[in-house]
Amino acid sequence: MSLEKRPVTRFELLMDAGTGAQKAGDILLGAFVAMGQYVYVEPMIPAEISPPARSRPALSGVIIRLADFDVTNIGNDTDLILAAHEIVLDRRLDDNEFNANAKILLDMGDQEANPDSYEMVLKRCTKLGLSVIPFNVDPESQTIVKELGGKGQNLHYLGMLSYIYNMDEEMVQKEIVKTFGKKLKEDIMAKNVTLYHNGYQLAKEKVFFRYEVQSHKRDGEQILIDGNTSMSMGIIDAGIKLYSGYPITPASSIMHTLAKNFPAYGGVVHQAEDEIAAIGTAIGSYYAGQPAVTATSGPGLSLKQEFIGFATAAEIPLIVIDVQRSGPSTGMPTKTEQSDVLAALCGSHGDYTKIIIGVANIIDCFYAPHLARYLTEKLRVPVFILSDFQTANSYKVLAKFPLVQMKNVDDIPDFVFDRFHMKRLTGPIEMVKTQQTTPGAEGGMRRITGLNTDENGKISYFSDNHQRSHAVRNEKIHHVRRALTTPEMFGKDSNEVLIVGWGSSRGAIEEAIYMCEKNGVPASGMNLRVVYPFPLMLKEIFAKYKKVMTVEVAYGDALKPSPLALLLRSETLKDIHPLIAEATGRPLRPRIIMKKIQEVLK
């Protein structure tokens, strides 16, 4: 039996929706963490609750990247797939995310009833050069699964995977008890544990390879958290007092987390009748002096646009979180994309600019609400936080990060600014309306309106006045522009190629540049945390690179620039094209980034 040591590997468990693939992933993750390995998990979730079993839309699974270093993204290609049947495997092969020598463990349980379908998929695997290791769940386990009403197969697979990844059987069992302990009756739990052991035993007898990733002892307190949960806790820590939202994938889990937790910290969760009402109530609350936030995804962002313009004109602070998914329209609700940046920036009528913060990872999710609150209260313009499906749903173990417990925005610590590559705002900030009192403030009575006003807040249709309002609003954005410092850079200060991305592409860019440097590919990288406005020195930075190219999970082609490329071109006059502009719903891969850079350099 060979035990192959690897610095990094990636595997997948593919099952039908509702059969527990993600639960098995959670248990594995707990065990890997207990072993001191670095893990990054991406759940694959269908947009429907329970699509018919053994159908392509039913694919539900978990991708686990395991490394002996801190992983910042889901990585390149899969080395091992464990598939519950041939249909989910066939569906996943379409994504073309496997290594040429990837191994496939295929459960043959459904073969008898579907011989042709199995034959077809097995032929496909052979054609692709993939080695398939067929297996059958042992008879005892099959009986137990039947007794459990079709449940428990995931624990059998979990057993197989924990053998292959050289995990201690007893330790994983502890994780199982920890996960299900309170929910399952003793006899049911015993059956599940038997399934696990049988799976472990099966792999021991039938599978002739094992992998090991080196363990590390990690100091300090560690937490396991996903992007949306991190954002939710950040909202609480930022001193926000109202969450106002409407259910929409993939933003809803922020509302779920806050519904459970917010009241204990003095916060209110309001589920509005629609997306428009949700943002209206956030605006009403902020106007009356209680910091508020609304979160949504693409379709909701479209609906909210008129109120975003109102908040701008009336100078009411406003924070909008957009957890991006694939669009346009309903698009692909459970697939990731970075395609809302233009809708956020330019989506509403009348030409006004906003501030867009992009979150690059789970820790950014926690601190973005603090920065958003600081900026929107100082400038009284809407601030967007753009996350995406990938960032929202991925989870990993992190060293517990410091809290701020922000009450007043002036209490915001420097490290939050550093994280987003900007400085504290300085100097007086002019408002369209000089007086900015809050209801209840004695003697401060004033009316706000979406109509144009003069500096006294009076409705005004005079030409000079309207031009001034635009100038004042834009100057607010320029304040941010001037406060932005050099964005996060990877690699050399000058080079043949610079690849630029924003938000969640950070991890893939960082790793791609690391690979480029190791392979002598002359490329550097940049990640923008504040996506708009751009820092003033951007043009000077770009001048040090022969080619500047974007990497985006959004569509672009030779005639249609991708969103970030469009913005960068217009603001720097540099001939910027996308290196990768793919709206496939799948995250960027470092290896593909390097490969494309190599092609460009040929």
């Binding site: 820590d237 109202l242 003095g266 309001h270 209206g280 002096g289 209801p439 009316r447």
Partner: protein, 306 residues
Amino acid sequence: MTTDTLSKPAPVPITIKELNTENPRWCAGCGDFGIIMGLKRFIVDRQLIPSQTVNVSGIGCSGRAPNYFNTYGVHSIHGRPIPIALGVALARPDLNLFVHAGDGDAMSIGGNHLIHGINKNFKCVFLMYDNEMYALTKNQTSPTTRQNHPTNTQPQGSYLNPLNPITVALGLGASFVASTADWIPDHLTNTMKTAFDHPGFAFVHISQRCPHFDPNNFDHKNSNWFSFLKHPNGIEPDRRLADKTEVLEHDPSNLAQAFQYGAAERRYFGLFFQNKEKPRYDVILHNLVDKAVKKDPSKILDSFLV
């Protein structure tokens, strides 16, 4: 946060003059003058503190109303004053909250918010300015335009039977439904009083004249076409007109009778229905916070420790 506090009287007596801002930009004879004057009279009678009073409106002629009160105010976007008002109510339950909406705001573009404002029953006085047309956009059919009345968008005459705001509100389960008109100032102010004291969403329908586009709609010189509803728990009939028209005794707890008056051809001004016991969403949310076992904010990540 407290759920509800009675507003304290102003330290210096408030007069109408202090509540005025600029000259309203409404047409001569517009019913909106009467409505805001009725509300100002109430504010003076009750001595509400202007800095603790918020008027929220939508868009249209009625949308301008908050600009003409020297209180706090939000002139928001078309159809959406209710969500804004709810935000204010959740953030500052101690403030006096008045929502101003036209028939387009309330019954058309913002219909969904009216449904849920009524259902949520949060504390505010909701004033529906009903001139039965779109006026600021220059004479278009609204959901309450009477059938066959010609407008710029339906020049052959409005096609449909109008929506009936009273039965709509009653049907939605409103905890307070009253009706009044811009030209009966005494009744208007009495209505504001009863509505303000209602613990919940007080739906007040106001028939409003539009002399510019529809001068013959409401015969404000005669009173034989409407009746007042009267009750010890209701709204006092108009002092000036009480002896000139029918005054009916109506118990505002009688929902079936309220529907009958609401659906009748004849107009009724007064309190159709009131239920002071309907649960309030704002109170429920505030209670959730008040009664939650508080957690240490310095440990918010501790439940994620591995």
